[in-house]
Symmetry: C2
Subunit: 397 residues, 2 copies
């Protein structure tokens, strides 16, 4: 069985590495030369909306999936007319537009930050009245890794952000969260579901830097809340494949921030420390196999390699460091790889993670997991914001 993948980056690469042992073959559509999937399957080089390329994928693939949500919805619908596409074009469309995404959360009763569409500075006054300040102004489409968004603290900053970011925006309440979590689950073609334990994520400059899994101090209730929330989205979208939902934890509750209809950076730890990786379960799901057990085997830290390559022999010599490189040319802010750190207990993992972190150029200070935060529960966000509203979003119409 051949899986067509739109995109040839690291996520597609890790899908192939996980899928080949299951006897799945891969065919990638990728515009860039020498992508991370080079030599992991056939690479059709071309743009995502090139009809000739799309016809080749449709003809050769038994099923099609995608590694990122910015792929043109029209191309995906075109493919879906000829070959099964998972997740569905509807799931892709819902994740492509932040307004549609917020509406979906709202309809499903999933708590999320207050938000309001902004199509120009003229909409700002009403929007900020709904969101309060500070707020986050984001492009509705094609934002990723912190790109296409700005935190604004005043109406003037908001106006500047709207001018800089363009016409189709959304303003959201700034959430004074305690920590960022993500829930990853997979939905099978047969309707079965598995969910990975919640992962705690740490960003800097809009980029995920470190994840800890299973997230420390997660009650069974919180895990269940996350699974119910993700399950509702799967139900509504007739979802097949891995779904990631980024969450804010605030005052013991979860708010959905955004969803990704694909394998996700915060699930990379599953390669070395879960019963089956998110990549294997995505391949299983979209090719009609049963899902595999997702349980974590122990505590893990996932550290991203960003911008500059570490000294591989030195990094690879750290016991418990599992190195995953993507064969990408270094460039500032570019994800080049990740290191999964495993060990007998959380303390050992943190010790090894600190050693690994020091070997990553420009990594700065390793953000500690929430367990080691001051006991007074002080937020790690330096911005002061008004208390978050758990009500469904307002004014989104």
């Amino acid at each position: 069985m051949t899986v067509g993948v739109l995109g040839g980056g690291q996520l597609a690469r890790m899908l192939a590495l996980a899928g080949r042992p299951l006897g799945r073959r891969f065919l990638f559509l990728e515009p860039a030369s020498n992508p991370p999937v080079a030599s992991l399957g056939e690479v059709v080089r071309g743009s995502y909306d090139d009809p000739v390329c799309l016809n080749r994928i449709a003809a050769a693939a038994d099923v099609v999936t995608f590694e990122f949500e910015a792929v043109p919805a029209k191309a995906v619908r075109r493919l879906a007319a000829e070959v099964p596409v998972h997740p569905s074009p509807a799931a892709l469309a819902a994740a492509q537009d932040r307004r549609a995404e917020k509406r979906l959360f709202q309809e499903l009763g999933i708590p999320t930050a207050r938000s309001c569409p902004v199509d120009g500075v003229g909409d700002l006054a009403a929007a900020l009245a709904a969101t309060g300040l500070p707020a986050v102004v984001k492009t509705r489409r094609f934002g990723y890794d912190g790109k296409g968004q700005a935190v604004v603290r005043s109406p003037e900053e908001a106006a500047a952000a709207v001018k800089a970011l363009g016409p189709r925006l959304i303003a959201e309440s700034f959430v004074d969260f305690e920590r960022e979590l993500s829930v990853l689950g997979a939905a099978g073609l047969d309707g079965s579901r598995v969910f990975y334990p919640l992962t705690e994520n740490h960003h800097r400059d809009g980029l995920l830097r470190a994840s800890y899994a299973p997230a420390p101090d997660v009650s069974a209730g919180l895990q269940a809340e996350a699974e119910v929330l993700a399950g509702k989205i799967m139900d509504r979208l007739g979802y097949v494949g891995v779904l990631a939902v980024e969450l804010f934890q605030s005052g013991g509750r979860l708010l959905a921030n955004e969803m990704a209809p694909r394998v996700h950076n915060s699930g990379h730890w599953t390669i070395d420390a879960a019963g089956a990786s998110q990549f294997e379960n995505h391949v299983r799901a979209v090719t009609g196999l049963a899902l595999a057990p997702p349980a974590a085997r122990g505590p893990t830290a996932m550290l991203n390699v960003i911008g500059e390559m570490p000294d591989l022999p030195v990094l690879a010599a750290v016991p418990g460091a599992h190195v995953h490189l993507y064969d990408k040319t270094p460039r500032p802010g570019r994800k080049l790889g990740h290191v999964n750190v495993t060990g007998p207990d959380a303390e050992a993992v943190m010790e090894t993670a600190a050693s690994v972190w020091r070997l990553l150029p420009g990594a700065g200070i390793l953000p500690p997991p929430s367990k080691s935060k001051p006991a007074d529960g002080a937020s790690r966000r330096t911005l002061v914001s008004r208390p978050v509203a758990f009500a469904p979003e307002l004014g989104d119409d």
Copy 2:
């Protein structure tokens, strides 16, 4: 860094799957069309002694290794003149000839069955006087998976075997072992060593069917004995890479049966249940990286898929079954894949292994691990043989 691999079968495939995350690229020399390594790197199609192909490998690879020991020693020496080859041509040569291998064991004081070279029926009387009966008559070179050998119970059977197998043979005492074990270790370029826990192996018709790891009922002394034995071979051969030594356990002692200067079927469990797989450690070793911790994470059963493909969706639905297929066309006696079974304890693993085994066409009865053997220590071999000699081999000159 590009690794040239002589051979493009499942072992080369799994080397690539383990090596790509370390940023290693692969180039294979393989005579067959559509081999298991297809789409896992560049495949140079040609015979192992084609000078044009060898030149291409030498020009493009930073280091060369091999996935099987039948590769022509001359070709390997030719490559070694231009590019580092690990394990060394000397290690390959020692493993290619059973007589050289026996001599090596003998020189290193490693217990092994008595043996005697046989170049024709005229040598038989002296050889059988040394080995006793029953004996095993084997070709000296290019035997694998039970091919090129015969168990003989009488001088007449021995004469028939010699006529059938050809001129360059060796006769060995038939060892009345309690069980077959193997020790796998890796030697780094920097002289470092790691050893995996002993694995218990079960063959039928000369083919490995099932392995249990860590082998049950292994004392620290037995593990140490195996490591010392493998370490001696590594020392003598200036070894770099993974080395496997097949062992017989008899009366609490270990006898070396044969060695394989490569990753080995009995180490496939390490993909899903060791700190790092044999494939990762072989790539690490030959490309000059530090070796990674080999410890087992728990009990595992490795079951080979031989001859006929199972129903993949049914097989993949067994929780705890990790499926590894090789993209090979089914043929009787051909290894098509393997399934690693993991679980919380040995009992759960055996239960799952039994479920998996029933799904493998023509697998017969799952050989139980030695733990579940009758307590009187009765051999599972039905042949009666004289007590094994632990002395160095006789008459090998």
